[in-house]
Amino acid sequence: MIEVLRAGLCDLVMDQGRPGRGGLGVPRGGAADPAALAAANRLAGNDATAAGLEITLQGPTLRFPRGGVVALTGARFAAVRSSGVTVAWNETLVLAAGETLRLDHAQTGCRCWLAVRGGLAVPQLLGSGSTFLPAGFGGLEGRALQAGDRLALGTGAGDMHLLRAHPPSSEADAPLRVVAGPQVDLFDDAGLAAFFGGRYQVGAASDRRGLRLSGPAVTHAKADLPSQGVLPGAVQIPPDGQPIILGWDGPVTGGYPVVAGVVTADWPRLAQLRPGDRVRFATIAREAARELAAAQWEIGDIA
């Protein structure tokens, strides 16, 4: 069991999401960087599919009355154990009974993932334990953690080893790679030049439903578009010309023209964008994007 002494900005129970429910209007959701949560799970001795916490910008203080085995991956947060020792990232941590883990602000990036040996025990709804805030279901009562919450742990963990993970390298300043979108023909040359030549700032209203960008307006022929299916990474252009990159909990259909789509390989970078960050875009061909391998987390024993 874990006691939440102080909640962070938005601590959400997440696993690998609920694929295949788009026809019900339910997006896949799940961890914004599924590979990072899967790596944390492996470090904690769990299956990759176990539920953990996704922690955004400002973390919680958690107490482990009976101790526990945990691991953190993703953005590094200022974090200390009750002993005063700084919390290590990307390795198996063994906590003594009664120990607390105090996570403060993200030092770089936006999100980290905490896995706990046994996994968080939450109900499976539509095949997943992930919190889906827009409709208020999944995870812990469909909401973010609050002070006073108690999180039950599962019992399904395997053998315990002390492990260390090496995250895949990422070029934070590189352009986000996109494939031209289904309505690219609706955009005039000036609109496309603005989008592909411009730098955009991530807005404060961004969340798991979408990243709202501000920058050069992407102009397009006004058209009454029918609703179309969309997926995370799709870059929608509303009438004001300011792009929205759909996120993990975004709607499954939308009526705004889609100028481009961020390739799957760059979704983990979307997970680490925070308000104020600047992004730019570069196109690649769909076939080239398909060939981009999933980033590999290397996990081995702590020597």
Binding site: P19, G20, R21, G22, G23, L24, G25, V26, R28, L125, L126, F132, P134, A135, G136, F137, G138, V178, V179, A180, G181, P182, P226, S227, Q228, G229, V230, L231, G233, A234, P251, V252, T253, V258, A260, G261, V262, V263, T264, A265, R286, E287, A289, R290, E291, L292, A293, A294
Partner: protein
């Protein structure tokens, strides 16, 4: 994936990519037939299928291509595929008043009185085209032309769960409370979405729907 050819995509020129994994296929009148066939045939390269207005979005599994078999089905959907589930759902609605604050507005736009609007709305036979916007939100086709309404100039910050609404060519029902841009004409006690149910969404594409005034 042995029987499927990797590294070779069978993509029709009219299909459009939405990132590396989403493929928008214009399916027109055959949208529900293609959707039903895809759901029943379980193509291994497909992670998800999202029906919408005259198109389908196929979400491919990472690294996958469109197989020749899938491409063939999408270019010539089976003529005998069912386009209706055969189910008819009757939805009891309290029209107007606090349950449907925009009824006078849309009746005015249609040039008829609210009672006539209710009669036209509840006499029509609807079909679920697709679910979107929120889990379980049905986009119902079959709204009489005269009842078609543009969306509200400014969306409501909060629409009650069960609100029956009209937007453009569609009528629909908000499963959960939240912001909404359609005109609200009534409310139903029917639970459109419940993740705890075996079938979480009350309606599915192809269902027929009628509204019954209370």
């Amino acid at each position: 994936m042995g029987k499927y050819t990797r590294g070779q995509s069978h993509v029709h020129p009219a299909w459009r990519w939405v990132s590396d994994r989403g493929l928008r296929v214009p399916t027109g009148e055959a949208t529900l037939a293609c959707y039903g066939t895809l759901v029943s045939q379980d193509f291994p390269e497909v992670e998800d299928i999202i029906p919408a207005d005259d198109s389908l979005l196929l979400v491919l599994r990472r690294g996958e291509c469109v197989s020749a078999e899938l491409a063939a089905m999408l270019t010539s959907p089976p003529a005998d595929a069912p386009v209706s589930s055969g189910r008819l759902l009757e939805i009891a609605v309290e029209y107007g008043g606090r349950a449907g604050p925009d009824l006078p507005v849309v009746a005015d736009l249609a040039g008829i009185d609210p009672a006539a609007y209710i009669k036209r709305h509840s006499d029509a036979d609807y079909k679920v085209a697709f679910l979107g916007f929120q889990p379980g939100f049905p986009y119902l086709r079959g709204l009489p032309d005269v009842l078609r309404t543009p969306r509200r100039a400014s969306p409501r910050v909060r629409v009650a769960a069960g609100s029956v609404a009209v937007g453009g060519v569609y009528t629909g029902i908000y499963p959960a409370a939240g912001p909404g841009g359609w005109h609200i004409i009534g409310r139903t006690a029917a639970v459109l979405f419940d993740p705890q149910r075996d079938a979480p969404a009350l309606m599915k594409p192809g269902d027929r729907v009628r509204f019954v005034p209370q």
